[in-house]
């Protein structure tokens, strides 16, 4: 009897210790940025944008919304994305990318500083709303998120009601931005991806017979496929579907595409199922041209995947970790230091989101003591103004339309000798 009570007490004690440890861990989570900087200080010091580490950013010169004053203060950026569960890799990547950008900006020591807090949504709608509520309690002024489409639709609605400016790195459905003037996207919309894929195939493979394999329980995959199929019409000879539960075997779909005589196979999906498809196509001696979308980025770093299988695959992505421009090289090095792997497009989108917001804050001359609604209105005006454009990791000269969609050029990469090359 006594013994068991002691055992129970020791267990409880151990738990308390674990909790205490975790609490410490939680506190050190805060970025190493400089402590609270004086935000009301007169900005007589040098302006922040003197080239340096900043992406080839361009200060909008002139234009309708001439800066009202010098931007200053510590802005609170909130981030929402899945950091546990099946979609964790996307959320982790985007939030780490954003954190890198925040740390870089803080290290510049300019008048505009950021405090960044990322919350987990497990890719579930109600958890995302809870995370959003928590960030609001924390005093979030601008939202970087959500990372995935389904939770983002609900969070976007809340942010619209609360007038909080939101820029999502990767929620690509048009439903995210539809009817919400404060919601902007850093990634292509799904229909846009499908259309540019169709465009590319029409130009480069005019008479091709096309097969499409897509994931019909995934909004991203379905969105791209619908636009693509609408554009290609009769030249599609085969369409195969799969779901989350069946993405480990594609022998049926691959064989059917082969039987249909398809010489181009369009794969609107993430890279993990695509590796299986490439493997199984090779196994039956089927070698069409595989064309992927931006989700295909990352295929070369997939563990246990023979990268030679991806030889000749076309990836339509705005970002390639193997690019040799200085910005990408620095970002890839920093990301690898933190995460031990190459960044994918999500990480680059997260990074770009923070810098785009940073540039817009400077262009509009915002101060952190302004109300969230005022910041929201000013950022909307800046993002949609003709004079504002942003160049970063995922594109040059990006501009935003009033419906929140980004305009940038997709880049097609051909995988050759294990690296991305421009075809």
């Amino acid at each position: 009897m006594k013994k068991s009570i002691i055992r129970f007490l020791s267990l409880a004690l151990a738990l308390v210790m674990v909790l205490a440890l975790c609490a410490c861990g939680g506190e050190t989570q805060q970025g190493p940025g400089p402590a609270e900087n004086p935000n009301t200080e007169a900005p007589a010091t040098e302006p922040a944008d003197d080239g340096g580490n900043e992406p080839a950013g361009d200060e909008p010169s002139g234009g309708d919304n001439e800066p009202a004053g010098e931007a200053s203060g510590t802005f609170k950026l909130g981030g929402i994305g899945p950091m546990t569960g099946g979609a964790a890799q996307y959320g982790m990547a985007a939030m780490t990318g954003a954190q890198i950008a925040v740390d870089e900006i803080n290290a510049l020591g300019g008048p505009v500083q950021f405090e960044f807090k990322a919350e987990d949504d497990v890719n579930v709608t109600d958890t995302a709303i809870n995370a959003y509520g928590r960030l609001k309690d924390w005093g979030m002024q601008v939202l970087v998120g959500c990372v995935t489409t389904t939770p983002c639709i609900s969070v976007a609605q809340e942010a619209n009601t609360d007038r909080i400016f939101a820029l999502t790195p990767s929620a690509s459905s048009t439903d995210v931005t539809a009817g919400r003037d404060n919601m902007f996207q850093m990634c292509f919309t799904d229909p846009n991806q499908g259309l540019s894929g169709a465009e590319y195939i029409k130009t480069n493979f005019p008479d091709a017979k096309i097969a499409v394999i897509y994931k019909n329980d995934d909004a991203y995959s379905v969105g791209i496929r619908d636009a693509f199929a609408g554009q290609m019409g009769d030249s599609i000879v085969y369409e195969g579907t799969f779901t989350d539960d069946t993405q480990t075997d594609f022998s049926v779909q691959v064989a059917a595409a082969k039987d249909a005589g398809a010489d181009v196979v369009y794969l609107p999906m993430y890279y993990q199922p695509a590796t299986v498809i490439l493997n199984q196509a090779k196994a039956i001696g089927y070698a069409p041209t595989f064309i992927g979308v931006d989700g295909m980025d990352g295929i070369l770093d997939q563990e246990n995947f023979d990268a030679s299988l991806a030889e000749g695959v076309l990836v339509m992505s705005p970002f390639a970790a193997s690019s040799t421009d200085e910005l990408t090289v620095n970002f890839v090095a920093e990301y690898q230091k933190r995460m031990g792997q190459l960044p994918n497009q999500f990480a680059a989108d997260g990074y770009d989101c923070v810098y785009a917001i940073y540039n817009a804050i400077q262009a509009a001359g915002l101060t952190a003591d302004m109300s969230t609604a005022d910041i929201c209105e000013a950022l909307i005006a800046t993002f949609t103004s003709d004079s504002f454009s942003y160049s970063g990791l995922t594109g040059q000269g990006m501009t935003w339309s009033t419906n929140g969609e980004v305009t940038k050029l997709p880049m097609a990469f051909l995988i050759k000798d294990g690296v991305y090359t421009t075809p």
């Binding site: 009897m1 068991s4 009570i5 129970f8 267990l11 738990l15 674990v18 909790l19 975790c22 609490a23 861990g25 939680g26 989570q29 950091m83 546990t84 919350e119 987990d120 579930v124 709608t125 109600d126 958890t127 709303i129 809870n130 995370a131 959003y132 509520g133 928590r134 609001k136 309690d137 489409t149 389904t150 939770p151 639709i153 609900s154 976007a156 609605q157 459905s173 439903d175 539809a178 009817g179 897509y214 994931k215 019909n216 329980d217 995934d218 909004a219 995959s221 379905v222 969105g223 619908d226 199929a229 609408g230 369409e239 195969g240 579907t241 779901t243 989350d244 539960d245």
Partner: protein, 354 residues
């Protein structure tokens, strides 16, 4: 008061406890003392309380392990959303439309529960669990294939089973809206759910389930659970009573689903996967099988726990798991039970009374 039965007292205490909790939270909310995070928990907590109470009817009272409860929630959610969106002009009053949507959700889930119950309730034990799991999965996949739109001519349905159709195949007229877009789920939903509606639904679920348990039907259901052969030998129609429990449980889950669906502007069927079924089962088991107020508390505490643990950032899910294990150990620990029994001596006698 004294001549009230023990069970009646517990039932009334449950009603009063839930009402008190509702009043306290409402007052706090009215005075703006709730944080935004807390305010966002209210409606989903109500939904999951109803889910847990209704699942307890099947698992605890009827004694059948069902692993597909989220499927009924899903049916309720999407039929409720369709009803609410298509009736938005016919019934402009939001609370009434919410009520209608919940009734439609409950009815659709009840029909599905009846159809699924016919084959499922002929099975026992593990086999029943496996088949309910399969049905939950089938419901999820079917809704993934479902396209629904609404325009002046009425509702349009397309079943995208071959994966070749899209929203354009609904052929909506000018001004029509696509309500459910297959894998993308329902988007652009007008939010109707409110905390008072959630409270009313919880009370309805409690009244229905508690009264059913204490009635002749409930005793027959429990008799089937305790000894099927003995129950049959005294002339109880086992399938009928198991079916009653199953259908009532499905209907309540459907109503909870409708409330849940109408509290967010977008919802995909992947929310109602196997994991959600298991989560609800965990609420029931930790609250105590057959113990209705236990389900209420279990669902509320375990839904809020992972949110409250956000302070621990990366360790959140780890600590959540540790807490679950500790609660399991603690509630099954005889020494601890004896300890509690000594502190509250009356508890012992209550246990012997059942």
């Amino acid at each position: 008061m004294k001549n009230l039965k023990k069970t009646t007292k517990v039932d009334f205490a449950t009603y009063i406890g839930v009402t008190l909790a509702f009043l306290i939270v409402s007052v706090l909310q009215g005075r703006d003392m709730l944080t935004n995070a807390m305010a966002s928990w209210l409606v989903p907590v109500c939904c999951f309380i109803v889910m847990a109470v209704s699942l307890n009817l099947v698992v605890g009272i009827s004694g059948e392990l069902s692993l597909g409860h989220a499927g009924f929630m899903s049916i309720g959610a999407f039929s409720g959303i369709v009803a609410s969106m298509s009736l938005s002009e016919a019934i402009p009053l939001a609370p009434l439309r919410l009520a209608v949507a919940m009734v439609v959700g409950a009815a659709c889930a009840a029909v599905a529960g009846f159809l699924i119950g016919i084959p499922v309730l002929r099975l026992r034990g593990d086999y029943l669990a496996i088949v309910t799991l399969a049905f939950g999965q089938i419901i999820k996949d079917l809704i993934t294939c479902l396209l629904v739109g609404y325009d002046k001519r009425g509702l349009h349905f397309v079943f995208n089973l071959d994966g070749l159709r899209s929203v354009n195949d609904l052929h909506l007229e000018e001004g029509g809206v696509a309500i459910i877009k297959g894998a993308q789920g329902a988007v652009g939903v007008t939010k109707l759910a409110s905390f008072p509606a959630g409270y009313i639904l919880v009370m309805i679920a409690l009244v229905v389930v508690l009264n059913m348990i204490r009635s002749r039907t409930g005793r027959a259901i429990m008799a089937c659970r305790d000894n099927r052969i003995a129950a049959e030998s005294v002339g109880i129609n086992v399938t009928k009573y198991k079916m009653i429990a199953f259908v009532v449980s499905a209907a309540l889950a459907g109503a909870a689903g409708a409330l849940f669906g109408l509290s967010y502007s977008g919802l995909a069927s992947s929310r109602f996967d196997f994991n959600t079924s298991i989560m609800v089962l965990v609420y029931v088991v930790l609250g105590g099988l057959g113990n209705i107020w236990g389900s209420v508390i279990g669902a509320a505490v375990l839904y809020i726990l992972p949110e409250a643990l956000r302070e621990f950032a990366d360790y959140r899910m780890l600590i959540y798991a540790i807490v679950l294990i500790l609660v399991m150990l603690a509630t099954n620990n005889d020494q601890l039970k004896a300890l509690v029994g000594r502190i509250i001596p009356r508890r012992k006698e209550a246990e012997t009374n059942g």
